[in-house]
Amino acid sequence: MEYTFDLEKNKDKLTEYKDFLKMIKATNGALMPALQKAQELFNYLPKEVLKIVSEELRIPLAEIYGVATFYAQFSFIPKGENQISVCLGTACYVKGAQAILEEFEKELGIKQGETTSDLKFSINEARCLGDCSKAPVVMINSTLFPLVKKKDVKKILEDLR
């Protein structure tokens, strides 16, 4: 998906982000918190923002890109307003989480790792959300949906629309 970062629209967020960088700049190992904050603020890691990180923290851009592509939580396309994480941990897997994931994919017409064109939803498979006794579980933003069944998917999505 092509997506251009709107500098004008994100002006306030950028100011906030730059202040944040100034604050953490001196701490050891500031890169991870810097990327986490960027992902949180902008919902993805825009090129423009990573360039600011590189300048502020004095870390080569290649290294930053290397780190950002290593960790699953960082993305280079905007995540949806509603971030759906379908847990595929063992407990959920043996209880049919794969089918739940497929149902979300079918309903939204996107694959895991993608975002709907209206930026409303994105789907990700998650690695064990640690709620195994309520498997299969789905986390949307920070709300947890326990004991999800395939037929619940439609309803869950409707409530969010």
Binding site: P60, L61, A62, E63, Y65, G66, T69, F70, F76
Partner: protein
């Protein structure tokens, strides 16, 4: 210096206690194969080719990252070790294009050498191979991800020795490649085209863009000093049929195996038809080739003439950064002591 005694392949040796098993083995001429080790860099431990058996430990140990201990008994060529190395090579070949016939690196490729040494062959399989990704945006060299074994030497040389940090590992696991930010290509990265990554690449993943076609076994290596500046970097000119077709840095020299873009890639001018090979003398508006002896004679004649007519300060000397310190010293000596003038300068001051 504290030393320890240990046994490697039934050879009892005494070495500095700070050495690794690999360094200790090397010091007595026992070569242990490796694809990611470089004595100039921190231990990386990725290729696992240097595994050895150490008595008393159940698992194989990588000799690059195991320190010597007193009484240690090491075996570098047991069946278990050889089997492990063969399997590692097989895993690499499973994900490597079978094109050694036409690969420019053939003959100088560490992967090829080891595959030959350990008798590992390409095999057919239906599994996944790494996606095709070629970055040929840089004018001097090209990266081919499919030939890359991810030893990380290029990344580490770029960040630790060249201190540019233009490339890094991108993605994770099986999908890892060596890349530039946002895969925008080397030309858009911080790359300074020093080519030190190309020099350390053990396979054909990073190759110079060559104007000439040649096989690595056809070239003769001529060791010389790079003439671009006064540092004195040692290089091997790769020559074929009296033509320079490539340059490689010499490792045990002042430049420690490193070069800059000029030393590494600027050699095509050597074979250029416009290049001067002999002194020229302009007579009646036309340049004519003369001998060096004749040239010196003319210089001497003219110096004597103008010295008599106008004195020492009618001379000025301008020296070049491509000369060594010693040459520059001699040059100013010539002007000050022989020509008796202080009119001497150097292009680096410009």
């Amino acid at each position: 210096m504290k030393t320890v005694k240990l046994t490697i392949d039934n050879k009892e040796i005494e070495v500095d206690s700070s050495l690794t098993v690999m360094q200790a083995a090397n010091s007595v001429g026992i070569k242990i194969p490796n694809l990611c080790y470089d004595e100039r860099l921190d231990i990386f431990g990725a290729c696992r080719m240097c595994v050895v058996e150490i008595e008393g430990s159940k698992k194989l140990q990588t000799s690059c990252s195991t320190k010597v201990r007193d009484g240690m008994v090491v075996h570098t060529k047991t069946e278990k070790v050889i089997q492990a190395r063969r399997e590692i090579l097989r895993l690499l070949l499973d994900n490597h294009p079978n094109d050694c016939l036409t690969c420019e690196k053939a003959g100088d490729c560490l992967l090829q050498d080891y595959a030959y040494e350990y008798d590992v062959k390409f095999r057919n399989h239906t599994g996944k191979i790494r996606d095709r990704y070629i970055d040929d945006s840089n004018p001097f060299y090209v990266y081919d991800a499919q030939k890359c074994i991810l030893c990380g030497l290029c990344v580490r040389v770029c960040s630790r020795l060249q201190v540019t940090g233009a490339i890094d590992f991108v993605n994770r696991g099986f999908d890892t490649i060596i890349g530039t930010p946002f895969n925008d290509g080397l030309i858009n990265s911080d790359c300074v085209s020093c080519g030190n990554c190309v020099s350390v690449c053990p396979t054909g993943a990073l190759m110079p863009k060559s104007k000439e076609k040649f096989r690595t076994w056809e070239v003769e290596k001529v060791k010389t000093t790079c003439t671009f500046c006064g540092v004195g970097c040692q290089i091997n000119l790769l020559t074929k049929d009296d033509k320079v077709v490539g340059v490689e840095p010499v490792k045990n020299a002042v430049n420690e195996g490193l070069l800059c873009v000029k030393g590494k890639f600027s050699f095509n001018f050597i074979n250029h038809p416009d290049r001067l090979n002999a002194p020229l003398l302009k007579e009646d508006g036309v340049f004519k080739e003369i001998s060096w002896d004749r040239a010196y004679e003319i210089i001497k004649e003219k110096v004597d003439k103008y010295m008599a007519e106008n004195g020492p300060d009618s001379f000025a000397g301008l020296s070049s950064a491509r000369c060594t310190n010693e040459e520059n010293y001699l040059f100013q000596k010539l002007f000050r002591a022989v020509l008796k003038t202080n009119n001497i300068d150097h292009c680096a001051r410009l």
